[in-house]
Amino acid sequence: MELNNSKIKIQAKNLNVYYGKKQALFNINLDINQKEVTALIGPSGCGKSTFIRCINRMNDVIDICKVEGSVEIDGAEINEKNVDVVTLREKVGMVFQKPNPFPKSIYDNIAYGPIIHGAAENKDQMDNIVETSLKKAALWDEVKDRLNEPGTSLSGGQQQRLCIARALSVNPEVILMDEPCSALDPIATAKIEELIDDLKKSYTIVIVTHSMAQAVRVSQKTGFFHLGKIIEVDSTDKIFKNPANKMTQDYITGRFG
């Protein structure tokens, strides 16, 4: 590995996931480095989203989903019964494919997380959290005069940045992004990518994407998934210039998927 000085933040070991009888992930072993962007690519239905949903245990929400194996964050196992998912999800934020602002004001959208975790003691602190989060998500200048308008009144790209700001509001360490730009136009996408580039200075980011170009642009490390298995993981540079596996080669050159 080229970036051998980087510290491992998340480590998945022998991870198997089942939806009912169907197995979605097979023996996944993947290390995710601190404060860099890891991109997960692969054809639809290959298990990329299932994998990142294991990192904040969002699969718990799905009744028929069963997770086996281990995921460690900073060396601590998260797949144990006594792990508090509330604290886990405070640490691991998530941004979804389709912008999903709550039907509340822009301000309340951001304040939602801090209220739940009791992060602010008074109105000033909350105002401060809202402002910093929106600034970090590069949305502050666009919305500072209309914080009381509903979040749904924003454009698609703004909504997605609002969702990123919402995830940042509880000071996470890891941000999971599940195809964050697939519902956005190229200009909004460019803004989000710029933002991701900026955010990786302070956060560990895992991004699922269908766009090879996006993976090249934003990530330092790339994992290629196929049919629930990891085919190849390496630095983004290596994967896209000189992949070791024939399948990876075929996929990135557009021969399948």
Partner: protein, 459 residues
């Protein structure tokens, strides 16, 4: 006779369907390209055969009695009570008349029998002509390979339009009749006395002949129709009902939508909805015979005077009746909140109940309010339970243990039995009905607007 004609028309319709279809198939075998499936030619011929004849038949049957009546009565201008005379003639003609047979009745009866024969014959002739005419016309059209498909579409459209027209006209008719009878009522009783008066005692207006009311009596009657106690009673009972139905309905709706497993939901939702299918009269006697006396004994054991017909019993049972409306509607509304909102909330660390409280319910609130408003208008319009369980005394009270009465109960009380239609007492029922109608209409309108506004949000 009439059923025979109808039968013949229907049989002809059916056979012309098969005839038209086989004719069309014949054309196909002659290598003529049809513009529609053969069945459409069948429908086309059948509709053309049936509709004109049925329309003529219907109109004829509708207007025939009146026309005959007018024709006969024109011959006897000297008779005074014409309706009675005509009824006597008819029953004499049918051979079940048991009164004094006058010469006029005999003459009229002879006249009737001759006109009747003419009418029957001409009916048969005209309908037969219509059948033959329209069948020939349609058959020619088929031969010319016309666009049967389009014509069948048009006829069906007209048919559907007529059906909706009937529904609309009925509604308009009911509203107009309510309005006119109410106007008659308000011409004798001051409308402000009706709306703001606090004493309801319509039995004071019980006079055999309404035209015999003297102006002095009318003046005394002015304050007998104060509807405030009725509105207060209605609102009070509806309030008690909502106090029962809103929490239980809403919570069970939330449970079904968010917590229940698919299996539980599959069985429990229909079971709750059965509550809505129980006839209200069953709820009524349950309230009157079980719940009312139960509260009474319970109250007595605590040293309270509880009327055996109490607002509490009626409201409670009405609340139970309304639960499924709220639970089922709010379940649907909660289900239509996008899953992505829930995931967004979970992803930031919210628990299930926090997510429901802070994201799902606010998102679903307009729909929930809509369902509650619909339930309120159901509660206000409910009759059977309150008739049986709430009592008849128009008390202006806020004590739930006393008996009280509602608008619907009073309408029932006023109209039960033989009534003079021009007495202010009877007309009061229409005035009450009108106000009730307006109240529920407004509630329904608000409810639908709220629900609609909510729909637009996620589309």
């Amino acid at each position: 006779m009439n059923s025979l004609i109808a039968g013949v028309i229907l049989i002809l319709c059916l056979s012309s369907y098969f005839f038209g279809r086989s004719e069309a198939r014949k054309l196909v075998t002659q290598n003529i390209k049809l513009k529609a499936l053969p069945a459409y030619y069948g429908y086309y011929l059948s509709l053309w055969c049936g509709l004109p004849a049925l329309i003529i038949f219907g109109c004829w049957s509708l207007f025939e009695p009146t026309i005959i009546k007018v024709l006969i009565l024109n011959n006897f201008p000297q008779i005074e009570s014409k309706d009675l005379f005509y009824e006597q003639t008819l029953s004499f003609f049918n051979g079940n008349f048991s009164g004094e047979i006058t010469n006029e009745i005999k003459a009229a009866s002879i006249k009737y029998s001759s006109i009747n024969i003419i009418a029957q014959n001409s009916k048969v002739v005209i309908i037969a002509a219509a059948l033959i005419g329209s069948l020939t016309f349609a058959y020619r059209k088929i031969q010319n390979n016309n666009k049967a498909r389009d014509d069948v579409e048009i006829i069906l459209k007209v048919l559907l339009f007529t059906s909706s027209l009937v529904a609309i006209l009925t509604t308009v008719g009911i509203i107009v009749s309510l309005l006119f009878e109410s106007l008659k009522f308000f011409s004798t009783i001051n409308i402000f006395e009706f709306i703001f008066g606090t004493s309801w005692s319509p039995q004071r207006a019980f006079v055999r002949d309404a035209s015999a009311i003297t102006p002095e009596e009318l003046l005394e009657l002015q304050d007998a129709f104060g509807s405030v106690p009725l509105f207060a009673g209605t609102a009070f009972i509806a309030l008690i009902a909502m106090c029962v139905a809103v929490p239980i309905g809403l919570f069970s709706g939330i449970y079904l939508a968010e917590y229940a497993s698919t299996k539980v939901r599959k069985y429990s939702k229909p079971i709750i909805e059965i509550l809505a299918g129980i006839p209200t009269v069953v709820y009524g006697f349950f309230a009157a015979l079980t719940v009312g006396p139960f509260f009474r004994t319970l109250g007595e054991s605590m040293g309270l005077t509880v009327s055996s017909e109490s607002a509490l019993a009626a409201g409670l049972i009405m609340g139970v009746m309304i639960i499924p409306y709220i639970s089922s509607l709010s379940d649907d509304v909660i289900n239509s909140v996008p899953q992505s909102l829930r995931e967004g909330s979970y992803a930031i660390g919210a628990t299930k109940s926090e997510t429901i409280k802070k994201v799902v319910i606010p998102a679903a609130l307009p729909g929930i309010i809509g369902s509650i408003l619909l339930a309120v208008s159901r509660a206000i319009g409910e009759t059977m339970i309150v008739v049986m369980a709430a009592g008849l005394a128009a008390n202006l009270t806020i004590n739930p243990l006393e008996s009280t009465t509602t608008i619907t109960t009073q309408i029932v009380m006023i109209l039960v039995g033989d009534q003079e239609f021009d007495s202010p007492k009877t007309q009061a029922a229409f005035a009450l009905g009108l106000t009730l109608f307006i109240a529920t209409l407004i509630l329904n309108y608000i409810a639908l607007r709220v629900v609609k506004k909510y729909r637009e949000k996620y589309d």
